[in-house]
């Protein structure tokens, strides 16, 4: 397909070709090189293809290069010119990465803190049996923000309640962090178990 041919295509035809993705202007197209256009078309073909072998799974150099220069990705490569981290050049063993001391008192890992904010979902329940009902706990961010729920109108009691809720929140944060840490050894433990089992079966 030559550029001239491409230019003859009307927008409607074109957007069909591109699977309804952004309709390209003719000028844009003209400035696009036929090879690029061909690649778009190929992707479209692959997407519409019914058969499994319509695309090639080939980990070749050419693919690597295509990936590298693929314009459809957001390319942050400018940023990747690795500015040596703004931190401590003094400490010899921690320069290249961010594995430095925490910047602040952000003592709780982000993923744990998120737990306290929790989006409460309603669970798809089986039948209407109330025995199956799962109550959702409501919590507030660990970092503060007054609790919306009050169990009591007595200020003193309310404070006590608040204290208890904080205790529970602390515990939940601790549990989630602990789970994340323990899960790190799970894979190697499991492998060791499987191996041990296999050996036992052999004997």
């Amino acid at each position: 397909m030559t550029k001239a041919d491409v230019n003859k295509l009307d927008n409607q035809h074109l957007s069909a070709l591109l699977d309804g993705e952004q309709p390209l202007e003719n000028q844009v197209l003209a400035s696009d090189d036929a090879a690029t256009f061909g690649r778009y078309a190929l992707i479209g073909d692959a997407m519409r293809a019914e058969s499994d072998n319509a695309f090639v799974i080939d980990i070749s150099d050419s693919v690597a290069k295509a990936l590298e220069s693929e314009p459809v990705y957001a390319d942050f490569s400018q940023k990747q010119a690795q500015p040596t981290p703004l931190v401590a050049n003094g400490t010899a063993n921690v320069v290249a990465f961010n594995w430095r001391k925490p910047i602040s008192q952000l003592a709780i890992a982000a993923s744990v803190a998120m737990f306290a904010i929790v989006g409460v979902q309603t669970l798809p329940q089986g039948e209407n049996s109330s025995a199956n009902e799962i109550p959702m706990l409501q919590t507030t961010p660990l970092t503060g923000v007054a609790s919306p729920v009050s169990y009591s109108s007595e200020p003193a009691l309310e404070n006590a309640e608040q204290g208890l809720r904080e205790l529970q929140q602390q515990r939940i944060g601790a549990l989630v962090l602990e789970h994340q840490r323990q899960a790190r050894v799970a894979y190697s433990l499991e492998k060791a178990h499987t191996k041990a089992q296999a050996e036992e079966e052999k004997n």
Binding site: D19, A46, M47, R48, F55, I57, I59, A64, A66, E70, Y73, S77, Q82, N93, F97, N98, W99, P102, S104, L106, A107, A109, A110, S111, M114, F115, I117, V118, G119, V120, L123, P124, I134, P135, M136, L137, T139, E161, L164, Q170, R171, I172, G173, A174, L175, V176, L177, H179, R181, Q182, A183, R184, V185, A186, Y187, S188, L189, E190, H193, A196
Partner: protein
């Protein structure tokens, strides 16, 4: 090389093995985000194969951060609130289940591998592969793989109503000939030596093995470890049990009851569920990437041994 399965021509499984192969052998620099409900976590993921040495770096970019570094069979975790430590293992425990980069064949007993439709992800032609739990006690996991390179473009924990609970989406990837200089730099760094090989035997006196009876778990889960220890953040003592079915991990904590009203209930963020069960004289908490119904059933099955 991806192992071949003569008796099994499942194309979905083949694709997953190709992805594992690509992830271990390519030099790439990728960015992805994990979306959990209303929360979002951005990560950067670098990998290189330098001769026989695999170098990998995964880093959480928001908040206090979390850095994970792998050199072959040693993974080092850098966390804000504790000293860095290393584990002797050949994969990083990040947001992507580790087993996906290994031999997923071992999941076949409890999960099906199904080829889904084709789509467009991150501007690329993508093939959907679904890992479907054979029972309703676990979530399904869907992966969209690049049609050309087999690299991961997107993945999600999906419940049985078909809703995506936690999504991981690549926003950028560059595959290069040469390893990123950042990774090569790792070779010149000192990392903590690995903790003594994780004690496999559960026969040690330290285990919490007989303290509690855990009456029910979904099929396929087995105990990996149990002990009694203090939690890092709040110094509370807990009896601890770690289970896995090869795909997801489940933690069971049995603790002294907290004072006051302690309603039982569940909490979730993305695919992760925390179920807190008030069993009267003790509290049971279950944490893991499992549906709340499952976590509840596990928690309520915990009892004192007879």
């Amino acid at each position: 090389m991806a192992p071949a399965f003569a008796d099994d021509e499942n194309p979905a499984k083949e694709l997953l093995l190709q992805m594992a192969d690509a992830v271990h052998n390519r030099n790439f620099d990728a960015s992805f985000v994990v979306v959990k409900g209303k929360a979002m976590e951005p990560y950067r993921w670098l990998h290189a194969k330098q001769g026989d040495t695999e170098l990998e770096h995964l880093s959480l970019l928001n908040g206090a951060g979390l850095e994970m570094v792998r050199i072959n069979n040693q993974v080092t975790y850098f966390e804000p609130q504790s000293a860095p430590y290393s584990i002797a293992t050949d994969s990083i425990a990040g947001p992507i289940p580790e087993v996906l980069f290994k031999n997923i064949e071992r999941l076949s007993l409890h999960y099906d591998f199904v080829l889904g439709g084709k789509g467009r992800i991150a501007g690329r032609a993508a093939q959907l592969v679904r890992i479907e739990s054979k029972d309703e006690y676990k979530y399904n996991y869907w992966l969209w793989l690049d049609a050309e390179s087999s690299l991961l473009l997107k993945s999600a924990y999906v419940n049985h109503a078909g809703e995506m609970l936690e999504q991981l989406q690549l926003t950028h990837i560059s595959v290069t000939e040469e390893p990123a200089p950042l990774l090569l730099e790792m070779l010149n760094r000192q990392f903590p030596t690995s903790l003594p090989a994780v004690e496999v035997s559960n026969k040690e006196s330290k285990t919490a093995g007989n303290n509690w009876q855990i009456g029910w778990l979904p099929d396929g889960f087995s105990l990996l470890k149990s002990d009694r220890h203090k939690l890092d953040l709040n110094n509370e003592l807990t009896d601890y049990y770690l289970y896995s079915d090869g795909f997801v991990e489940v933690s069971v904590f049995v603790q002294r009851p907290l004072p006051g009203r302690r309603p039982s209930g569940s909490l979730s963020s993305g695919a992760t569920t925390v179920y807190v069960h008030n069993a009267g004289s003790f509290d049971v908490s279950v944490v893991g990437n499992i549906p709340a119904m499952t976590a509840k059933a596990i928690a309520e099955s915990v009892a004192r041994p007879l």
